[in-house]
Symmetry: C2
Subunit: 301 residues, 2 copies
């Protein structure tokens, strides 16, 4: 037994320790560690995607935040994860914890945001539950589906792959983290048309998520072209690297497909940028971001 | 806009209000309101069951409670719901909120309990997440599967049906609520062999859950034979009716099947009681429990 706290060991170490030795039955394609879990559907040639994610008052939003936006965010985060695997979202369950003294109108606002996002992305909210608790917390569990050949993992990047991101990064704390559009349609389109070697959504900041992708892809390093980094207006490169909650897609693409991808993307999504920001290399010597202390850890002080 | 609080309108009214007007896409068999949501599996003749449930420190367990038991309870609650639909549990996602100062050993205890229950009932834990927050909260999202012909809803009771419960009721607060065995195997056996007209698990107390089953089954009333109520040792009838968190199965069975059911049950589950406690009637005039103020509401003061 140890008296270490979760803050001392950090989120990644905690997850590693508690998921160690998990029993796994039949039908699990991808367990803990990717954007979604992937399981085989009984008697079907589809795979099911499973994802859950929670937003907590005081951690992911403030008490005074418009509850409609909080609801949108709670649903949009999981929709983003389904898209990052190349899948389509389907069914959601909503767990809501609110203090007993919470106003009904506040809760109605939360659900209005949840419903708006769900409808926009074709998600049926099929259940959930409410409980009391000291702060507001919404956890959304979402299922999706994907054809096995279109399922994109985060650990398949190869040395030489070009690294792309959608949209622009940084400064999400100024409001974007509450109103972002999950890249579900884009993720699915990318998977079905260009099957990236690896894909994930950027939730903890590029400085943390990019090395993560390299690490799980057999220990790849990367070079990042900071001058090409698509930075949101008013943001520094440092903020674009470290702010987190961008919810843009990060993907690794074979260099042979770059030109075709860029052309097709411009045609299909003319209003959204897709930028090549660097390259994966063999070996972790080229890992400029690895030394950064940036990115988001839920248990850091 | 209203300034009512959730405590003032109560849990049922709150759920009714926020789930009103939910958009529903294809494939939803049963939406909010039953033990689980039921959805069609893409390209398969199975149905999928979806359930999520949270336990919160200070609401469902105390800070000093052995965390291994808390973990067991969190998983056992959702396993119980899958069983109450006649299904088999499959894949779980675990959302864990803990304070930053929480000891790692406490979290390892939670997971030890979760894993023990998962393994016992054949559940693969395939993912989840951790976040910080002011108290400990575990939410488990669980999928299951059921053949359409064996899926048992809670709203199918018919006038004249015999009402049964498994096990004994009452006094769960003295420890049973942390260590109970979900009746997953029993629920599936009942569904596959005797297809009850309606089934649910008892979480809020018989005084609340039995009228609920009658109400959703087209507004049935019931008579309850209090003398036959299987009461746990040391409990009063009142406690057996109102304590909640029994996690026993409540089911409605055609009177023609009673004798065969009771015989087969004794053979199959000799160590667990199955007791006929009353009967459903047409019309709500016979609803002795409806007037009771008992049962559990998460937002009552």
């Amino acid at each position: 037994m140890t008296s270490e706290t979760v803050m001392e060991i950090g989120e990644d170490a905690l997850i590693g320790r508690v998921t160690d030795g998990l029993w796994t039955g039949d039908g699990v394609v991808i367990g803990p560690g990717d954007d979604c879990a992937v399981v085989k559907a009984s008697g079907s040639d589809w795979w099911n995607l499973l994802k859950t994610d929670a937003v907590v008052e005081g951690v992911h939003f403030l008490q005074e935040t418009d509850s409609e936006k909080v609801g949108w965010k709670a649903m949009a985060r999981v929709v983003s994860d389904i898209g990052a695997m190349g899948g389509a979202p389907l069914f959601a369950l909503v767990t809501l914890m609110v203090p007993k003294t919470c106003e009904v109108a506040y809760v109605e606002g939360l659900y209005a945001g949840l419903k708006r996002c769900a409808e926009r992305f074709g998600v049926s909210v099929v259940g959930g539950e409410t409980t009391s608790g000291p702060v507001v917390m919404i956890s959304v569990a979402l299922t999706g589906r994907v054809r096995p050949r279109f399922c994109v993992r985060r650990d398949g990047a190869k040395a030489g792959d070009a690294i792309y991101v959608t949209g622009r990064l940084g400064g999400s704390i100024r409001g974007h983290h509450l109103t972002f559009e999950p890249r579900a349609e884009q993720g699915r389109w990318l998977a079905e048309n260009f099957k990236p070697h690896a894909m994930m959504d950027l939730s903890d900041g590029l400085a943390k998520d990019l090395p993560r992708m390299g690490r799980v892809s057999g220990g790849l390093g990367c070079v990042l072209d900071e001058e090409r980094l698509p930075v949101n207006e008013g943001c520094s490169v440092d903020e674009a690297l470290n702010d987190g909650e961008d919810y843009e897609l990060l993907l690794a693409v074979s260099p042979r497909r770059q030109m075709r991808l860029e052309e097709a993307w411009r045609e299909r999504f003319p209003e959204l940028e897709l930028t090549c920001i660097g390259k994966f290399f063999k070996g972790t010597d080229k890992m400029p971001l690895e030394k950064s202390s940036g990115g988001w850890d839920h248990f850091s002080s």
